[in-house]
Amino acid sequence: MRVIAKLDVKPPHVVKPVHFEGLRKMGRPDELARKYYAQGVDEIFYMDIVASLYQRGILFEQIEATAQEFFVPFAVGGGIRTIDDMTRLFHIGADKVVINTHALQHDASLIDRAARLFGAQSVVVSVEAKRWQGYWECYSDCGRERSGRDVLEWVQEAQERGAGELLIQSVDQDGRQAGFDIDLIGEVKQRAQVPVVAASGAGSVEHIVEMAKAARPDAVAVASLLHYDLCDVAAIKTRLAAELNQDAGQVA
């Protein structure tokens, strides 16, 4: 299973959101990217968590400064509204783009257009899921805006439109370090034809193992656990490989 370092950025800092609200500064994105690369991370996700909320443009300079001196995939999200935004991101060092707010709240065809131009494998759709009685609702703008959309229906639509990967975040669990919303990840995984990246809630390696065994996502995205040096990437990978009884390197 891939282990992804997720950098939630409120420029110029990587921050740790608590329930997508309170923020603590964790370091600079370029430094943390290089640190996790050295630890053996499989991918780096850079998420500008306030771009959509503040309704401002993408801060390309800082992204470009981050995309240096590491040679694993670099996915960038936050505030992407147009194909031009994506083209520019690829030209400064991104390998994938991550879309949520604009596609969910304004124009879902952004997914189709992106997949058609860049190929599905480069288009990640991010979901911020809020748990209600018996279902989950899609949120946006860093967990602040409701959409009225059912998560399981939306991920189906996103895949049909060409999403090549699904990043599943939980508004309830994010930043709490109290474990994943395992039901959410499992339900999405069961319906997904494309790879699923599980995020939000890892406070220990045990949380990751428990979720991975139950929900079997294709990748896990980790933030706080790494930012607080509670463990390093290599330790997570070794433990997952042993627990999931698979070859450390084999793609599931």
Binding site: D42, F71, V72, F74, G119
Partner: protein
């Protein structure tokens, strides 16, 4: 002496910058090639690849780059990466049927297997013929893949990989023309080594 590698930047798509940085890390000087008159004066060519077959081939044709790229690939050692490899084929089936450069016989078709597609992540490769590209690379080394389509070829296979129980072509070679389905520029030190092997050809 550093080799000068011509990195073909075919318009609006492609993770060109990632490839450029990795080539520099491998010891190359990189010249970006955007127009038909910029092809001269380099020792190697790289055709990078993030995009969809139809859109990118159409873009290349619209910009008058099809023939220059075809000629370049036959004149100097050339490496196609991911879509850049797939476009070497005769025909692609991503968003309709589109002719490729037709430099290596074969078709590019949607992967069908028991695991999720796109195939995304690090995976091993199994060289099935001797190739200078893999010189000095640990057989256990893993390379990063991100693709939904695969190159179906029976004549120029250089390496295979496996996804969800399905074996597919992960590298092709024909003379000085090479193609890899994975992304060496995103494959840590093994990828840089492969690029170094390529620029030393």
């Amino acid at each position: 002496m550093a080799q000068q590698v011509g990195l073909i930047d075919f318009g609006s798509v492609g993770n060109v910058e990632s490839v450029r940085r990795a080539l520099i890390a491998a010891g190359a000087e990189v010249k970006l090639i955007r127009t038909a008159d910029e092809f001269d004066g380099v020792s190697h060519y790289v055709l990078p690849g993030v995009g969809s077959f139809h859109e990118v081939m159409e873009g290349i044709r619209a910009n008058g780059l099809e023939e220059p790229i075809r000629q370049a690939a036959q004149s100097r050692p050339t490496l196609g990466i991911c879509l850049g490899m797939q476009m070497l084929a005769s025909l692609g089936f991503e968003f309709g049927e589109t002719a490729g450069f037709d430099l290596i016989d074969g078709e590019v078709r949607l992967m069908r297997c028991k695991a999720p597609v796109p195939h995304i992540g690090f995976n091993r490769i199994e060289p099935i013929k001797e190739s200078p590209l893999f010189a000095g690379i640990d057989p256990e080394a893993e390379f990063y893949f991100m693709h939904s389509y695969e190159f179906v070829n029976y004549t120029d296979v250089c390496a295979l990989s496996s996804h969800g129980g399905h074996r597919f072509v992960s590298a092709v070679s024909k003379g000085d023309l090479y193609g890899v389905q994975f992304h060496p520029e995103k494959s840590r030190e093994h990828g840089i080594r492969l690029l170094k092997n390529f620029i030393e050809l």
